[in-house]
Chain length 431, copies 2
């Protein structure tokens, strides 16, 4: 029903524009497959192995139901230009058009996007894939200055916005669900413990955090593991918020938040942790990150990098990269090795938490929907639609396996003071 309301939103204009009602005369679909663009579109759908979606071309009234399977959603495309753009670059234009209401989805948005992603995956070897691989080689500098702009774009939207739908401690990375039914709060706590246990933290040790969000992990480590933390972040809003929390919780002598780039980390630490930053580093800077880690980690030190990744190299979805996360890139494990190999860091443990991120996003999306009216008041309806699409699209991408979530634990080449097994991660959880 909710999605039905969304559809009606188009009529009442999400962004104040007058809806284009040209051709809104629901005709019987033509027997010979309809218009030229309709035929092109059907060919594209055929290449996608026929996703379970029912398309409606609003200007002509043409209806394109799925073949032999029930649809999971009804997708209305408002005008000819939108359809043509979609055929030319679905990766970018689906999001653009959805944002402004030129595409409407009735039914389950997540399932709709899963169907599209699965379909696109089947189109390998065609023009789309070739274009993607060209884009793959596009240089994204992510210099310190550009990185600051990119991070500002997303993370400085406003703490008030994120407070509306994140968990109470504002953890904006993949949670860890011991079972799918635990709450988001429990799962975020479990994730922090999982990370701390992997890092084998001992009281009195020092930890440096690269990219600390609103500071929750640093506080958790200091409070529950007795370590001192120096946490770096280039998001001004996040650092201000984190410092206030540390003070309020009496942990400001244990946790120092530094508003600076990871490249400027100095000092030597027992552990390094970076949860959800590597996506923003850019692969041409991985070796530089490795140099920083080598410089700041003691010979007995352990490090953990938690990052969205891929099973095969492919750029971030063009629309997400443009509208949501400029400069972002989810690496493959192969690409991540640029961080570790030059200094012969030994990879000790890689865990793929893909399904955990799908579940985290399911929670975020549900919470977001509950406050969407409030968000629309703070920003506008387009903002709501774009964030809905981003959250739903991310959930879909993790669900179908387009995105992975890797936690990589590593240590220096000659560190033999590492845990003998991983059993300590599961103490009390084994039965």
């Amino acid at each position: 029903m909710k999605k039905k309301t969304d559809f009606l939103d188009v009529a009442v204009q999400p962004d104040g524009r007058v809806p284009k009602l040209t051709g809104l005369n629901f005709r019987i679909p033509p027997a010979e497959g309809g218009s030229i663009e309709g035929r092109l579109f059907r060919r594209m759908l055929k290449e996608m192995d026929g996703p379970p979606l029912h398309f409606v071309l609003l200007w002509s009234g043409e209806e394109i139901p799925p073949l032999n399977i029930p649809p999971v959603a009804r997708v209305t495309i408002r005008d000819r230009v939108t359809l043509l753009k979609l055929i030319i670059n679905p990766d970018l234009h689906f999001g653009n058009a959805y944002g402004v209401g030129d595409i409407e989805v009735e039914g389950d948005l997540v399932q709709c996007l899963e169907a599209i992603y699965r379909g696109v995956a089947r189109m390998s070897g065609n023009a789309y894939t070739k274009r993607l691989s060209r884009r793959l080689n596009k240089k994204r500098p992510n210099t310190a200055a550009q990185a600051r702009d990119n991070i500002h774009h997303h993370y400085d939207i406003g703490n008030e916005f994120y407070k509306l739908w994140l968990d109470e401690r504002m953890v904006y990375t993949c949670a860890y669900f011991s079972t799918p039914s635990v709450t988001l709060e429990e799962a975020q706590t479990a994730k922090m413990d999982h990370v701390c246990r992997k890092l084998w933290l001992k009281p009195g040790e020092t930890v440096v955090e690269a990219g600390c969000g609103w500071g929750s992990l640093a506080l958790h480590m200091a409070r529950h593991y007795g370590v001192k933390v120096k946490a770096f972040n280039i998001s001004h809003q996040q650092v201000l918020y984190a410092r206030e929390r540390a003070k309020a919780e009496g942990l400001d002598s244990k946790v120092e938040y530094v508003e600076d780039d990871y490249r400027n980390i100095s000092g030597q630490f027992d552990a390094l942790v970076s949860v959800g930053m590597l996506e923003h580093v850019g692969k041409e800077h991985y070796q530089e990150l490795g140099d920083v880690i080598h410089r700041c980690l003691k010979p007995s030190g352990r490090g953990l990098i938690h990052s969205i990744g891929r099973s095969k190299a492919c750029p971030m979805n063009a629309w997400v990269e443009k509208r949501i996360f400029p400069g972002a890139y989810p690496p493959t494990l192969r690409e991540m090795m640029d961080v570790f190999e030059p200094w012969e860091f030994a990879v000790l443990d890689v865990e793929n938490l893909r399904l955990h991120y799908a579940k985290t996003l399911e929670h975020w999306l549900a919470r977001f929907e509950r406050v969407s009216e409030r968000v629309a008041e703070m920003y506008d309806r387009r903002f709501v639609r774009e964030w809905r699409l981003y959250l739903a699209g991310s959930q879909a991408a993790f669900t179908v396996g387009d995105l992975q979530l890797f936690q990589v634990l590593f240590s220096g080449p000659a560190n033999n003071a590492i845990p003998w097994t991983r059993a300590h991660l599961y103490q009390g959880q084994g039965e």
Copy 2:
């Protein structure tokens, strides 16, 4: 004391040659650093940051003690030619010379080799490293025919030989020690269970094994996890032995041993397992292996590859490759991705069991020493010395971090029927 006896073996001639006693007049070391080759050797030791070894040049009586640290071993080099060869290519000639008794080690052989490996690691950027990287690009075809010869060289030495010092089930791969103190037998059983749990085996499922050794894992899976196994191996001796065991244990209807190359695997299976084969595949064949896995794994299938690896690309020790394991190559995780990426297999879990292999080799070496007289009777003293060096050198390489042991669990890109966490691996072991 054992090692002392080894040293005396030189005098009584390990290979029947008359020992060269030229210069066996223990002179006071010359004040100015001695002979030219002695000075060259001292420079090499300096580049190695001065390993804790006491060298004796037997022909001149020159003694080269370590600087400011007590030695872990006394290394006697018999003649000038041996020393010069050692300076030119220590990687190859240490083993050659040790095998025939031209180098003798008194003290702990494993610690001696650890010191050498650590020293060589510090020589990065010099001529040795450059030569290594040239060798790295050397092509090793490992065609089906060549692979058969290579495998025959090592695994067909004779089942009787391996029976003397492996555990009772003849498991010739890294064991899994829940604690360092468990027995080798317990650790090999634990390893098989660890692998089966990772693969999430369910009764009635089918498993294909690529490279099955003497067949113990296949039997273990069939007996304890209720699966049917088709196990491939190109070692004739191993396959004969494995078939006999399956029959004797009444499991021949559950486990089929096929004497054939992994490239000829056919059929579709719920799981694929390969423990200790990838080292023999050769990195130019990884994609081919990936194609085989893609062909034979069901969409819901899981796979596990267990292999010796590296943190940085580097060829197998030249002597080991020549005398022990022709065609072998331990890959980096980056290189292993050639198996997975082309078909977008999702890496679910990587565990590094480096210290477990060091411990396994410690057991093997101790067992081998207990039967070394028997082995000398079956083969000769050179064979004993080479195998001692190979086992000790491998233990040292895992201990110092020159070698890693990766267990990589993976699945098809869209498989969501994977375990939610890894807690099931540690049931009953968490406390």
